[in-house]
Amino acid sequence: MTRNRSLFALAALVLLALVPAVVTDSYTRHIFIIAFIYGTVAVNWDLSLGLAGLFNFGHLAFFGIGVYTAAILTTALDLSPWLAIPAGGLTAALAALLIALPVARLQGIYVVLVTFAFGQLCMQVVLSQGDLTGGAEGLVRLPYLRIGDYSFIRDFRFGYYYVALGLLTVSVVALLLLARSPFGKSLRAVRDNPDYATARGISVARQRVLVLCASAVFTGIAGGFYAIYLRVASPEVFGFSVATLILSMVLIGGAGSILGPVFAALALTFATEAMAGIRGLEEARFIVVAVAMILVLRIAPAGAIDIFGRLLAPRRKS
């Protein structure tokens, strides 16, 4: 990551940390919280899809597994949400290990098919195990996050805002460090030239297993937090609309850039929410996002972050 991008990211983090001082209404804070959760999912999808070049189309399954882990643990076992949320990361990583084993040695379209089928399989398991998962209706009335007597929903979701921002920040910092490590470089090597990477001692299959597990950890935690925050676990999290929206965040933001999907998550969450309030665009908003995705990929395959980089570059020279 360039120095400019680091400074820009730091400035954005400071601004986001100051938002609750300015934005005091519950609704806008809610949109921010959802954007932070989607940003966490998107940036971790970027790890496997963008950085490692693995066409993983089952990433939202890890999110869903996190959602249901937290929901089941808090309702069936009465576990504290503070423990149920990280448990979502653990079960998602275990599920990733399960799917990574067959995927590790597959190529191209077969990776897409297997990972996509895995997502659908997870949804069918949730629907068929109604006693535990609530079936099509899901699980509701999950417990709030609280410390002592203080509920995080109070003060216009003040607590939830900072937990969500913290989760996104920790996840992004972890991924930036990972991207700079030899492991991160090996992922780019495997993505760009698997034969050459193998010829330098890198096990392509092993790196794929590791990257899928790593990308599932924060995604599962985000899922757990999502369930506790909304107090509901619904099979819709395995559906197309959420997956398409988050995939568009990765691709519009810039696959492999890490920061791009974060900014795209903020922009697209607010944009789709704004469009939902415009008559005639309620249902068409996803079409708008899809068109935006096609345009960005056509104009700048490296994503919007690359467009901004290019816009800034001539100014620096002059």
Partner: protein
């Protein structure tokens, strides 16, 4: 008595009904430069692929490296065992710098720790005379010769026992081929055994101590390079029966 380091016995590779490499046997001795020549489609690169397992191993036969069978071994483990290769086409990691590319080979190929890795990286780049000012450039921006140097440096950083070069002179100009000639002699003088496939016969003759010629997947002849190229069967394989 020359010590064998790589031995092939009856190595064969078939693709359906096509036999690309047919019952090839030879031995490479420690410390030598062993050349493999042959016209287009003679099975040279397929033979390299069979030895290194990238992207496929042999259909039959035995490959022994340093006394250990390596046919069937995972390709990344073959590299870690000390058998390192380059590719005919410009292989690169476009997102990584030259230093990062070489360091990857040291980290994953030889398990070199962080402290020693920087030194090993510089030493490998120095050995191939890679320009210091270009070491932090993205590999995508390097010249063809720069990419060849880098590929060799990334192969050498793990201190392999044998370096396998797949047509290293392809795409190079004459002065660059001359520079590569000197470079290979330097690498060999540093104690690295070299197995080289090459179309440019001048380079092969200059660096090889022994030469093997493949034709249609089978060994045509082998021996002293200057005698081998005068063999009528070799001339015929390259230029046709009228020339022989």
């Amino acid at each position: 008595m020359p010590e064998p380091i790589l031995e092939l016995k009856g190595v064969t590779k078939t693709f359906g009904g096509l036999t690309a490499v047919n019952d090839v046997s030879f031995t490479v001795h420690r410390g030598e430069v062993f050349g493999v020549a042959g016209p287009n489609g003679s099975g040279k690169s397929t033979l390299f692929n069979c030895i290194t397992g990238i992207p496929f191993g042999p259909s039959g036969g035995e490959i022994t490296f340093d006394g250990k069978r390596i046919d069937g071994m995972a390709p990344h483990r073959i590299f870690r065992a000390g058998l390192s290769r380059t590719f005919q086409k410009d292989a690169e990691f476009p997102d990584l710098t030259a230093r990062e590319t070489v360091a990857l080979g040291g980290h994953y190929g030889a398990g070199i720790g962080r402290q020693a890795l920087a030194q090993a990286t510089e030493a490998a780049l120095d050995l191939v005379e890679f320009e210091p000012s270009r070491r932090d450039m993205a590999t995508a921006d390097l010249s063809v010769y720069g990419k060849k140097q880098l590929m060799i440096a990334s192969a050498l950083v793990s201190k392999p026992a044998i370096l396998m070069l797949d047509e290293p002179a392809s795409g190079l100009t004459r002065p660059e081929i001359a520079a590569l000639d000197g470079l290979l002699c330097q690498v060999n003088a540093a104690g690295v055994t070299i197995l080289i496939i090459e179309h440019v016969l001048g380079l092969l003759l200059s660096v090889s101590q022994r030469l093997l010629v493949l034709n249609q997947g089978s060994v045509l002849t082998s021996g002293d390079p200057r005698e081998v190229i005068r063999d009528d069967r070799v001339v015929e394989a390259y230029l046709g029966s009228a020339a022989a």
